[in-house]
Amino acid sequence: MNIASNSRIRSWSALESLGFVSRDGGRAFQFDGVIVKPTRQWCVLQTDASPSSGPANDSLGQPGLWRRGTDDDAVREFHLPLAILGPGRLDEDGIDALRACVDWALCTGRGVLPNGWTCPPREAIESCIPDGGLTIQSGPIVRQGELVTASDRLALRFPIVPAVAAALPEARRKWLDRLIAAALQHWRMVRVDWGGTPERPSIEAEVDLSGAPHEVLDRLTPIAVDALRWVVEWLLLPANIVADVRVESDLFNVFSERDIPRKGA
């Protein structure tokens, strides 16, 4: 192990002040069912996705970055980009920001916001979003994302398929399920899931920043926009083609008899 990685592990050991216990030689930390796995660019917090492990905080509209895991559908993950910690990353200021973010993750993991958190002024968040950042075109399809703000809510959302036909054949729904699963495997941080109502289902992508420490939002917001754009651009065309019953293809007439493995299954 080189000096740089030793230094990195010593810095991550600051998590111990939050009650985390080092494991795997300092490559991971654990606290009350939450495992932190630092990587070069991400701090990944992970919990069991079974109903007994707490509220289902990984669905659209829930506060925080919790979502289905990239590698394992049976876990929930909270993907924190380390770039938000600033150029020094794990220097003193970075450690303070990291502690605040971990606290954010732990609170939203329990389905609540950090004590006293309120949404910053909408204009402050808008100033962090690049011009045109919430407009995406892929082929003939254009989607407009939205910034959602309320006193207890801060989120960025994109409709991918705004309205899925209620009569969409089951095989096509399974293709859409598989596309959602593939998107979650490919991309971090962003939730992608079915939304809308039973009568008018939709497929949406979301990054929920509710509860995020204010001091990281100027760096986190553009990263969130970027993450959303990657996912939406990747998924927009295929999801809409599959959901469009006017596009006839034998491909969509059949899908696996067995369901895609779901979390907690």
Partner: protein, 223 residues
């Protein structure tokens, strides 16, 4: 004027690509996609084994290709091998009234590889459908269903990755068939005549599927 077809068979460079695909180690999302597809695979042992190999090579091709060249969006191995893919390649669409040729830069393809493909010759239009864009303007694409014809009939046991490479060649017109009287390979005679009169535009791209510097055996790309 009748322009004869380039060889419909893949070029030697493609053969080299195909030989090496089985030794590529899948990584990152490609590996996870492979593992997920395997969980729902059905069929007799021979067909399962073949689908496993074909799925591996298809995802390996996506992994070693330049970023964005080939994205396998969804893969189903339950019955036929079915894949939903996005291929970054110039795609011509029907010219407008001023004879301007709209070019799109991606094609969304649906690929179906049935079990019969490993035991029988299947026609060249049996595998690939262009789902997007619409109004594709190629002699080898029928206007209604947009099936892509890759040749009169395909060799028994043709590989899925080869079908993808052939599709890339056909869409970019690096391989093409412009004889409007050849009913075996031309689905759209009107388009064939148009391309005969605009042969200077062929091919739409000379970029090979893999660049020279793409390392076939290098580490897998990660997000």
């Amino acid at each position: 004027m009748v322009l004869t077809a380039n060889s419909k068979r893949t070029k030697p460079a493609n053969d080299a690509v195909l030989r090496r695909l089985p030794s590529v180690s899948l990584a990152g999302p490609h590996l996870r996609q492979f593992e997920m597809a395997m969980t729902t695979m059905c069929g007799d042992p021979i067909w399962r084994g073949r689908k496993q190999a074909e799925a591996h090579d298809l995802l390996a091709l996506s992994q070693v290709a330049p970023d964005g060249r080939l994205a396998v969006m969804s893969l189903d191995l339950c019955e036929s091998l079915r894949a939903l893919m996005i291929l970054r390649v110039p795609v011509p669409c029907r010219p407008d009234t001023a004879n301007r040729l709209p070019l799109r830069d991606i094609a969304m393809l649906g690929l179906t590889y049935p079990r019969e493909a490993i035991t029988h010759h299947l026609p060249g239009y049996a595998f690939v459908q262009i789902l997007e864009p619409r109004s594709v303007w190629l002699p080898a694409v029928d206007e209604a269903r947009q099936a892509l014809c890759l040749g009169p009939d395909m060799p028994v046991g043709i590989r899925v990755a080869e079908l993808v490479l052939m599709s890339y060649g056909a869409l970019s017109m690096q391989t093409t068939q412009l004889d409007e009287r050849d009913t075996a390979g031309v689905f759209n005679p009107e388009s064939a005549l148009w391309w005969q009169q605009n042969a200077d535009r062929i091919p739409l791209s000379r970029t090979p599927f893999l660049r020279q510097d793409d390392s076939m055996l290098g580490p897998g790309r990660q997000r």
